[in-house]
Subunit: 458 residues, 2 copies
C-alpha cells in the first residue's frame, strides 16, 4: 500500500478514479491480500475529496468482491486467483473498403425508393408506438393481427384457404427453414432442391445436414421426370417464379409434384418469394391452394415491400403446426414487433393492396423498358429469360465469352452485373447468363446501363 | 363442353370469371383432354364480352398450362393428372381468449412507456427511411455503423475492448445461440447452465441437442465448487444480474470461471441482458473485459430500449469470428435493417446515453418504491431478493403456502404474479418465490398491486 500513489484528474468522477486505481493495485498485487485499506475518512482527507466520494468507491469494490467490510474494523482486501491467461485485444480500425467508380448497379434485391409509400408508412409506424402493446414482448409465433391479415390476403390473392392459427411469422426465409428443418429432420434426412436454385435455402438446409438431391431447371421449366427415382421425400421449390431462371410451373408440373408428395408422404416447401409481380397474366394460384396438407407455403415482404423489414411467414399444414408450436413456444419471435404491428395496420387500411397495384405498374414499365433496351442493343446475340415476372431478368449471351469476362468488362465501364453460375450445382448452363436487377433504377439509369454494357461487351 | 354454362356477374373482372370457370370444368373433367375450346371470337360473341376479355382468360389458362395453343387451329385442353389426395381446409375463426379481470399485472419483460423517447425515436426512424440504403438488403452480420456504435458503447460502459469486426448483430439471444451453437457443436457436446436460469437459453441449446449440466445458484451467488468435476467445457452464465435470482458474480467467481475456461480450452457465454440497470453501484465490468479470448459476450436492446425491437449482438473472440463468418456469410441478417440504422443514429447522436441515464433513475425509483411497499406490508413474512438491479424483484414468502396457491389467490384479487419454479431444473428453492416485474407500472399501480397482494395472501 505504501508505494501506491493516487493521482486524480477532472476527466471522470473522482469516486470512479479511486475505484479504478484500487482495482488495479489489487489485481497487480500492489496491495496484498488481507491488507487493511485506509478508512473512508482517512482516504477522503488525504485526497481532499468528500467522504461520500471515498464511500462510493469502496462500495463499488465491495459489491464486486475486491474488498470486504469487517464491521467496525474497516475494509480488507480479498484474495483473487491470478489470471492464468490474459490477452486484451486493442481496438483496431476497420479496413475501409475500396470505393469503385460505380455508375450503374444492376443489383437485384432492392426495391423502388421513389414510389415507396413513405408518408403512409411513417403514419402507421408512428401510430404503433403509441400502443401499450408496443412496450412488451410479442407473440412467439407472430402478432395475431398480422397473421389474420396475411390469411385474408393469401386467400384473396393466392387462392390459399388458411387461418391465422396455421401461420408462423419469422424474420426471413432462412430462419424459417432453420426452425422447420429442426422438425423435419426428425423424420427426413434429405431434400430435393432446384438446380440452379436459391443458394440461401440450400445453406439453411445444410445447417441441419440434410443431403441435397437436385432436379434440373431450364428455360422451359423444371424437369420432374426423375422425381420418383429420388430418395428424398421433401422438396424445396419456387413454383411461381423460379429463382433464378424465372419460369413458372405449369399446372401439369404442379399436380405431378403434389401427387408425388402425397404418395411419398412427403412435403413440398413452396417459396412464393415474389409472386406479386407477374406482368403478363394474373399471379398463378399457389401450390398450397391445390393441396394444403402436403404443401408448406413460404412468403415474405422483402421484394414486395422492403428487404430490410425482415418479416416472412409460413403456412404450416395441420400435420405440422401443433408439433411446431410445441417445439418453439419458449422461443421469442425474431421479427420486429413494431414492424409487424405497422404492417398489420397497413394491410387492414387497404394500403397494402394499393401499394401492390402501384408497384406492379412501376415494375412492369421498368421490365418492359429493360427488355426493349436489351433487344434493341443486342438483337440476336442474346436470349432474354424470365421477362414475365419479378424484379430481375436473365440475359444469356451468345458471344463466346466467359461469365467472368462479361462481369469484369462491365465493371471496367462502371456497371455492376451479377453471375448466375453461383446458383448451379451440376446443371450448368451451356452459355454464360447474367442477372440484371432493375427495381431501384430509373428508366434513364437502365438506358445508360444497357448502353454501357453494349460498349463493354463489344 | 356441351353441358357447360357460363354465368357472369359483376363481382369480379369478367376475364377472371371465365378463366375460373374453364379451370373448374377442366379440373372436373367437364371438358375432355384434347377437346378444342371455342375460338376467342366465338366465345366473346356468345358471352357478349369483348375479345380482349376472352383473350385474357385464355392467356391465363395458357400460361398456367391448362390449355395449349395449336397455332391457327385454336386452343386445346391439356392433360392433367387427377389429384390423388385433396383436402381443402376452410378458414375457421380463432377462439377468442377469455378476458380476465386484471387490475395489476406484475409482468416482467416490459419497458416504461411514459419515459420512452418517442419524439426522438420517431425522428431518427423517419430519417432512416429517406436513406438510399434503406431500400436494399443489409449486411449479413449487421450494419457496420451500428456495430461501431456498439463497440464504442461496450468499451465505455462495460470496459470491453473490441471492434466492429468482432460483433455480430442478430434478432435475439435465441437466434444467436442457435447460430453459435451450430459452430460450437462441432467440438463440444455439452453445456453448463445456471440452475435456476433462463429457460429460453436452455431451449436454444437443446435445439442442437447439447447435454445440459447445471451449477446451483442461490441468494448468495453461483456455486462453482463443482465446476472441475463437470464434463462440459462450455458454460452459459448471467454474471451481471443472474436470471432470475438477481445476484451479481463477485470478482473471485469471475476469475475462477475465466481460469476454468482457459485451462479447459472452453468458452463462457456471458449474457449481459440488463446490466444497464444497476442501482446501488455502477454496472460491474463485463467478464469479457477481463479475458476476451474465452468469453463470448451477449447483449441486447430488449430491456434497455424495447423488447419488440429485436436487436441483439454478440462479441466473438478471434478464435471464432472467422469461422462464424465463413459459416454464415450466405445468410441474411434476421434483424430489421431500419431498426439497426435508427439505433445507430440514436447512439451516435448521444441519445442512447441520455436514455439510459434517464431510465436508470426512473427504474431506481420504481425499485425503491416496490421494495418499501413490500416491506411495509409484509414485514418479516417475506425476503426480498435482487433489489440491487434489474426490472423485477423476487419475493420469497414464509407463509407455508405453495407457489400455485399464491399465484391463484393473487389472480382472484385481479393481480397477475409470476412463478420462479419454471426456471429450476434440480435446485429447488426451499420456499415459494414469486417474481414481480414493475417496469411499466406507475407508483400508484405498484402501491395498489402490493396492497391487493397483502389482502390475497392474508
Amino acid at each position: 500500500m505504501k508505494n501506491t500513489i493516487f493521482v486524480l484528474n477532472d476527466d471522470a468522477p473522482k469516486y470512479k478514479q479511486i475505484y479504478e486505481q484500487f482495482k488495479l493495485y489489487i489485481e497487480n498485487g500492489n496491495i496484498s491480500v488481507n491488507e487493511q485499506l485506509p478508512s473512508i475518512r482517512q482516504l477522503a482527507d488525504s485526497l481532499s475529496v468528500s467522504r461520500n466520494t471515498t464511500l462510493n468507491a469502496y462500495e463499488q469494490l465491495l459489491a464486486e468482491g475486491y474488498i470486504r467490510s469487517d464491521g467496525r474494523k474497516g475494509y480488507f482486501v480479498n484474495e483473487l486467483d491470478p489470471l492464468l491467461y490474459q490477452s486484451v485485444k486493442m481496438p483496431t480500425k476497420n479496413e475501409k473498403k475500396e470505393l469503385k467508380n460505380v455508375r450503374i448497379d444492376f443489383r437485384a434485391g432492392t426495391v423502388d425508393q421513389q414510389h415507396f409509400p413513405l408518408k403512409t408508412w411513417r403514419r402507421v409506424t408512428n401510430q404503433v408506438l403509441t400502443m401499450h402493446h408496443s412496450y412488451q414482448y410479442g407473440d412467439p409465433f407472430g402478432e395475431e393481427c398480422l397473421r389474420e391479415q396475411i390469411a385474408a390476403y393469401l386467400f384473396q390473392s393466392r387462392g390459399l384457404k388458411t387461418n391465422a392459427n396455421n401461420i408462423i411469422i419469422s424474420s426471413g426465409t432462412q430462419p424459417m427453414l432453420i426452425n422447420l428443418g429442426k422438425l423435419l429432420r426428425e423424420n427426413f434426412s434429405s431434400f430435393i432442391v432446384e438446380d440452379p436454385g436459391y443458394v440461401g435455402a440450400r445453406e439453411a438446409l445444410k445447417f441441419h445436414d440434410f443431403t441435397l438431391e437436385t432436379v434440373p431447371v431450364c428455360e422451359t421449366g423444371t424437369d420432374f421426370s426423375t422425381l420418383n427415382q429420388k430418395e428424398s421425400r421433401l422438396i424445396y421449390v419456387t413454383p411461381s417464379h423460379q429463382s433464378p431462371i424465372g419460369v413458372s410451373m405449369s399446372i401439369q408440373e404442379r399436380l405431378k409434384l403434389i401427387n408425388w408428395a402425397s404418395v411419398r408422404q412427403g412435403y413440398i416447401i413452396e417459396d412464393d418469394y415474389d409472386s406479386e409481380f407477374r406482368y403478363t397474366q394474373q399471379p398463378f394460384p399457389a401450390l398450397a391452394s391445390i393441396d394444403s396438407t402436403r404443401v408448406i407455403y413460404f412468403g415474405n415482404f422483402s421484394k414486395s415491400f422492403l428487404p430490410g423489414i425482415r418479416i416472412s411467414y409460413m403456412v404450416l399444414p395441420d400435420s405440422l403446426i401443433n408439433q411446431y408450436k410445441k417445439q418453439f413456444y419458449l422461443f421469442e419471435s425474431p421479427a420486429s414487433l413494431h414492424n409487424q404491428l405497422a404492417m398489420a395496420k397497413f394491410m387492414k387500411d387497404g394500403e397494402w393492396n394499393r401499394h401492390l397495384k402501384r408497384m406492379r405498374l412501376v415494375y412492369k414499365q421498368k421490365m418492359n423498358y429493360i427488355v426493349s433496351e436489351l433487344k434493341s442493343h443486342f438483337k440476336q446475340t442474346i436470349t432474354i429469360i424470365g421477362e414475365q415476372s419479378g424484379l430481375f431478368v436473365l440475359v444469356k449471351l451468345h458471344l463466346n465469352r466467359t461469365e467472368e469476362w462479361l462481369i469484369n468488362r462491365a465493371s471496367l465501364y462502371g456497371v455492376v452485373v451479377y453471375p448466375t453460375s453461383i446458383y448451379t450445382l451440376e446443371n450448368h448452363m451451356n452459355e454464360p447468363t447474367i442477372k440484371l436487377g432493375f427495381s431501384n433504377l430509373t428508366c434513364e439509369e437502365i438506358q445508360l446501363g444497357v448502353h454501357l454494357l453494349k460498349e463493354a461487351w463489344s
